[in-house]
């Protein structure tokens, strides 16, 4: 696309700018080497009145030729550039059901909607989140500043922008703020720029209306929306009020729990699969920048309707997602998660956050239930890890045995079990575990010769060699003992 623009510019290149033409043609007496190029600003400012007239003439020529070239370059889209007045306000207000808000920095369009807390967005009511403990949010996001958050003073934030690349020239033309304004009402403000010059008024409004929230909730806002909003404030030389506000970015928590099952952790996919939300009359995110850029030039607000719908659904989904996630996490043992893989993810999170007690709880709850065949080894292993870190030796030993019995061909189970036995100088039993397991794996055929298990197999064989060597060296007392 840009190459095309360059091509057009190249076509312009049979002309120089007005100033240059002026300096060259208007005064042929200029000594040839007075400037090694042309028209530096310093020299321009010294021009006489006559030269300025000449310049005006040349500039008109330049303008004419630019137009001529542009008409060749672009078939239909020729239009004259004029200051366009702010798009017909009444029409937008009607189409989008909003109001114009004015303040000292100008005006913008505000579309405000209120929803009762019982409003069901997909499977869950919006108000569900109000009953959730902020501790779960703090726990899953690993951010302790969230422990004190108050859902009633929390802002649910999302923006629509002119591009994904970021940088100083990307604008948030639609900023949505959702908030529970009472125990029974959720209010959603969609602040919209009808053109670039609405931005100052919009930012000023947000800063005065929502100066000190308890927390922010977003979907990928930490790396996208917040830095952009900060940029926009810097561009207007305004202080950014949410610089230090605790921020619960749902995308990271969602990835932690559902990454194993959901290839695409985009909000649209997550809400469809987890929240039971179906969108009608939506528009793909990738088209949104273009729709706004078209709107500001054409002034037709109708294509914006789906953009507002898209943006609204995004925020409502964030509210129910925050509620759903918190509720599911509230059960310590993870019984709220139906899918085995999600529970394993939770188990892994417990280990990662060094919450080993909870890990044992989650693992044991799963082992007491059935139907987890596909993750059985993994759950056993994670339980063993947690118990080892908790230094509960006898429970650890039992858990290793349980793992080994449940998965007799699991090389890792045998490896750890034999290791613990050998440390307890129970060498014969350790050897037996190694030998039997290797034999079973061997006899199970080609499946067990799978490349993926080779490292574990080598490790176990290594351990077996080691045990045999030790048995050889202290034969005197080693062979007598037997665990069986």
């Amino acid at each position: 696309m840009d190459v095309k623009k360059l091509e057009q510019l190249r076509r312009m290149l049979n002309l120089k700018t007005g100033a240059e033409l002026g300096s060259r043609k208007a005064d042929p007496d200029t000594p040839p080497d007075s400037s090694s190029g042309s028209g530096s600003p310093k020299k321009l400012s010294q021009k006489t009145a006559a030269e300025t007239d000449k310049n005006t003439e040349e500039r008109q020529l330049l303008r004419k030729r630019m137009r001529a070239i542009l008409e060749v370059g672009q078939e239909n889209s020729v239009r004259t550039v004029q200051e366009e007045t702010v798009n017909a306000s009444a029409e937008i207000c009607g189409e989008l059901e909003g109001n114009i808000i004015r303040n000292k920095n100008g005006s913008f369009l505000l579309v405000r909607r209120e929803f009762p807390v019982e409003w069901r967005h997909g499977t869950y009511p919006l108000g569900a989140v109000l009953h959730c403990s902020p501790q779960t949010a703090a726990w899953i996001s690993g951010d302790l500043t969230l422990s004190d958050m108050n859902w009633r003073e929390t802002l649910f934030l999302d923006t629509e922008t002119t591009g994904l690349a970021g940088g100083a020239g990307t604008v948030c033309f639609l900023i949505g703020i959702g908030k529970f304004i009472s125990e029974s009402v959720f209010r959603l403000d969609q602040c919209f720029m009808r053109d670039f010059d609405d931005e100052g008024a919009m930012l000023t409004y947000l800063d005065s209306e929502y100066p000190a929230p308890s927390a922010l909730v977003s979907y990928n806002g930490k790396s996208f929306d917040l830095p952009l909003l900060r940029n926009r404030h810097v561009q207007h030389r305004l202080d950014f009020p949410w610089k230090h506000t605790p921020h619960f970015d749902l995308v990271h928590s969602v990835r932690r729990i559902w990454k194993r099952r959901l290839e695409d952790c985009g909000l649209a996919n997550v809400e469809r699969l987890l929240l039971g939300v179906t969108r009608t009359g939506d528009v793909p995110s990738s088209l949104i920048p273009r729709i706004w850029l078209d709107f500001i030039t054409r002034g037709d607000p109708r294509p914006l309707r789906p953009v507002f719908y898209h943006h609204r659904v995004d925020i409502l989904s964030m509210v129910t997602l925050a509620g759903c996630l918190s509720r599911m996490l509230e059960d310590e043992a993870g019984r709220s998660f139906e899918e085995a893989e999600d529970r394993v993810s939770l188990l892994r999170q417990c280990i990662k956050k060094r919450d080993y007690e909870r890990a044992v709880q989650v693992a044991e709850a799963m082992l007491h239930e059935e139907d987890f065949a596909e993750v059985l080894g993994e759950v056993h292993e994670l339980r063993c890890t947690a118990l080892r870190r908790l230094k509960r030796a006898s429970e650890y030993m039992d858990a290793l045995w349980a793992w080994h019995r449940a998965c007799p061909t699991d090389l890792r189970a045998a490896y750890f079990l034999a290791g613990v036995m050998a440390n307890a100088r129970n060498l014969a039993a350790a050897r037996q575990v190694c030998e039997e397991t290797l034999e079973k794996v061997e006899s199970a055929g080609s499946f067990y010769r799978d490349m993926a298990i080779q490292p574990d197999r080598l490790k176990l064989e290594d351990r077996l060699r080691h045990i045999r060597a030790r048995m050889g060296s202290d034969d005197s007392d080693g062979s007598g003992q037997d665990l069986w």
């Binding site: 510019l9 100033a19 542009l70 889209s77 670039f196 940029n231 850029l293």
Partner: protein, 769 residues
């Protein structure tokens, strides 16, 4: 044997001396010193004293006092004259006084930037103050970037990174821009032509952002010796600049020798290989334990020379590791190790491309040998500056190749040793370049009505309106806003004015990239079936996909190379300036150049016989560019008493010679300018010789060529006259098969015609001639 003895020995060697065209002795020079100014912090003085610096050279003193007084300055100094102190002292002083102060250092390459930071760190360590100095470039890990932004008092970067990585994200660089006090631009002579024109616009954007945050940095520029350093600095930063060009550093006696390898084939004008001669000379120094540096013009030649010298070392029974190559493409660690080896004397000979010409610290060596002219007087002095310790004699040997420019220089030592005549040119207002950066600037901050960007406010408004018509910008509320989805800086390369390079892919290695050529050269270099040479390997091009900027090639081994024939059409778009030039006329203007590759020839190595040909089917290309040309009277053939055919050859020959010597007065690469000759110009219907610029819109070279036309014609005449060939060779007018039997003599007469005519017109009114 020491270097003075070697010099004596050479002086008495008639076989060596017969090939010398110059032996210039630059006498030793005393340094000129000044004490540290009172205001310099005790801590800075202490650190420098520990490094043995107890006083300043006069130029360092002048520079730091100028900067201290709040002015911009441009320091012109030769290699190894302590220029870094010229900016480090004022910058560090300011940061010690105001810890919030920030400085931005710009170097043309990443390697130079790294070198700077290492030196700065060493100094800062001794200051006992919290001063952050970091490089910020493509290699900076993303985890470190925040620290650079928050704590980097001195940020060292390159123009490309400033353009794509810093300016478009200025809001997160708030602290830098709010507190920016100094911008250091080193090696400004590198910023010429397209690169310089881009940089000037990047500086415009930088200043615009600084103004937004309320800072107004001072600029400290450093340059090698060129004809117009102050002019270049002023055009880059568009502010008055104080020029400091009296060098106060001492130097030992320096012998500069011009060596022209003997002619081995007079008919074809072929001389002995400059690479081989340079290698032989270098080997004699190696055998006498004298540390030397050899400069070669290409990576390939560096490899050849390195191999030759290692071989020579082995034959002498010495360790091969005494000889090292050094060029772009070596890993940073490898480079550091070589640099250290040179300083410590573990490396006795280093063979380098111009990578070592820039200010990397390798200490000083005894001897510098140049295998071929470096392309400009400025570069040659930079390279020569690598030889010479303070109190010792140094030797510099320039070995000329058969290239016309080399031959001109080697035969005109006075030109070289006189006042540096090379003008660096930049044209920040090239419309494509200006418009590209206007886009970037609008992305960074909206333009206000009445603001000017390179042009006066009215013309700026015209340009912005033009971009708005293209829907790239939108004008509303008295401002032009960026209104496209793209990120403009990523689409604009500072090193070219062409829309994206064509990369050459090796299909036998899963499309590994083996090289690139610029878009405009692609049809003449990588057309299907062309033989493309890379690192001495041959590849045959299978397909050229201009649309996607890709050429697919496969390694082959053949005994020929290919040469495309181009059909070039020129159309004069505009005559901006024209003057009589004797009975001819010189014109500065703009052209539309259309070129179409038609056929290619297969030419056998060694014998140069034509062993086959093929057709090229590619679309024609068009470019609008700046040009300078001569127009002759219609009856030129009658006036010179030559046939049309012979005249055609002569015009072609002179055009080629003019192009070859154009870098003599204008600091440009040979590839920046192309030549074309016609018996009948489509516009004026007269014989004409065109010199046009390679990049769309031109970078200002044509204007300089127009101004210096007389010198360039004189240079071309002398080149042709002094060439030992009989009827034309590649060292002057081109081979006989191209210019014809009479080509050389007619080219010479044409040059005389231009010069003689011009002399007459100086005495009488041109209008009456």
């Amino acid at each position: 044997m020491n270097i003075a003895q070697i010099v004596d020995r050479l002086r008495e060697d008639p076989d060596f001396r017969v090939n010398l065209t110059a032996w210039k002795v630059l006498p030793a020079r005393e340094g000129s010193y000044a004490p540290f100014p009172e205001w310099v912090d005790e801590r800075i003085r202490k650190v420098l004293e520990r490094r043995g610096i107890t006083r300043l050279y006069s130029h360092q003193f002048d520079a730091i006092e100028t900067v201290r007084s709040g002015k911009n300055c441009c320091v012109v100094t030769p290699t190894a004259s302590g220029k870094t102190l010229c900016y480090n002292i004022p910058v560090l002083q300011t940061i010690l006084e105001r810890p919030s102060a920030r400085a931005l250092y710009l170097f043309p390459t990443k390697a130079l930037g790294m070198d700077q930071v290492q030196e700065l760190m060493a100094t800062i360590e001794g200051l006992n103050a919290r001063i952050g100095a970091y490089t910020f470039d493509g290699d900076t890990p993303s985890t470190a970037r925040r620290a650079v932004r928050e704590a980097g008092n001195i940020v060292v970067t390159n123009p490309d990174m400033l353009h794509t990585g810093i300016l478009p994200h200025h809001t997160i660089w708030l602290r830098l821009f709010e507190n920016l006090e100094y911008v250091v631009i080193d090696e400004i002579h590198h910023y010429r032509g397209v690169f310089g024109s881009h940089l000037a616009n990047v500086i415009r954007r930088l200043k615009r952002i600084c103004a937004f945050y309320g800072s107004r940095p001072r600029f400290i520029c450093c340059s090698a010796t060129i004809a117009n350093p102050g002019d270049v600095a002023e055009r880059l930063i568009e502010e008055p600049v104080e020029l400091i060009n009296t060098n106060g550093a001492p130097s030992g006696e320096k012998h500069i020798l011009f060596y022209n390898p003997p002619v081995v084939n007079a008919e074809l004008g072929i001389r002995a290989s400059s690479v081989l001669k340079a290698a032989q000379i270098a080997a004699t120094f190696l055998s006498r334990d004298i540390q030397s540096i050899v400069f070669a013009r290409s990576r390939l030649r560096v490899e050849i020379l390195t191999t030759y010298l290692k071989e020579a070392a082995r034959k002498m029974g010495r360790d091969e590791s005494l000889v090292r190559g050094y060029r772009g493409g070596y890993l940073p660690n490898e480079r550091r190790e070589i640099e250290q080896g040179l300083r410590e004397g573990r490396v006795m000979a280093v063979v380098s491309t111009n990578a070592l010409e820039l200010g990397i610290d390798i200490g000083s060596l005894d001897v510098c040998i140049m295998a071929g002219y470096a392309g400009s007087v400025a570069s040659t002095w930079q390279q020569a500056g690598r030889a010479g310790r303070r109190n010792k004699t140094a030797l510099v040997v320039l070995v000329a190749s058969s290239a016309p420019l080399d031959q001109y220089i080697i035969e005109h030592p006075d030109y070289f040793f006189g006042q540096n005549p090379e003008n660096a040119v930049i044209d920040p207002n090239n419309l494509i370049i200006l418009a590209s950066h206007a886009k970037c600037a609008a992305f960074e901050l909206p333009f206000h009505e009445g603001e000017s960007f390179g042009l006066d406010p009215h013309s700026t408004a015209d340009l912005l309106d033009f971009l708005a018509e293209n829907r790239i910008l939108r004008k509303t509320g008295g401002k032009w806003h960026w209104s496209a989805e793209a990120y403009p800086a990523s689409e604009i390369s500072l090193r070219t004015a062409a829309p994206g390079n064509v990369v050459i892919l090796d299909v036998s290695r899963d499309g590994a990239v083996i090289g690139e050529v610029d878009y405009f050269s692609a049809p003449s270099e990588v057309y299907p079936n062309a033989i493309y040479l890379h690192e001495s390997r041959q590849y045959q091009v299978e397909n050229l996909d201009l649309q996607n900027r890709k050429a697919y090639a496969r390694p082959v081994e053949v005994d020929y190379y290919t040469d495309a024939e181009m059909k070039v059409d020129l159309r004069v778009l505009d005559r901006l300036r024209e003057e009589p030039f004797g009975q001819a006329a010189r014109v500065l203007g703009e052209l539309s150049v259309t070129w179409l590759p038609t056929v290619y020839k297969k030419i056998k190595f060694g014998t140069h016989e034509n062993v086959g040909w093929g057709e090229i089917h590619l679309p024609e290309q068009t470019m609008h560019t700046a040009a300078f040309w001569f127009e002759f009277p219609e009856d030129l053939d009658v006036q010179l008493d030559a046939t049309r055919d012979a005249l055609s050859g002569g015009l072609l020959g002179l055009a080629s010679a003019l192009r070859q010597v154009s870098p003599v007065h204008v600091l440009c690469d040979l590839s920046d300018v192309r030549s074309h000759a016609v018996l009948r110009s489509p516009e004026s219907e007269r014989p004409a010789i065109f010199l046009y610029e390679k990049w769309p819109g031109g970078a200002g070279f044509s204007e300089k060529l127009f101004t210096h036309a007389r010198f360039i014609v004189e240079a071309a005449r002398e080149l042709i006259e002094n060439c030992p060939c009989r009827r034309g060779c590649p060292s002057c007018v081109g081979p006989v098969r191209e210019v014809g039997e009479e080509g050389k003599s007619i080219a010479l007469r044409l040059a005389g015609y231009l010069l003689g005519g011009s002399a007459q017109s100086d005495n009488s009114s041109p209008a009456e001639t």
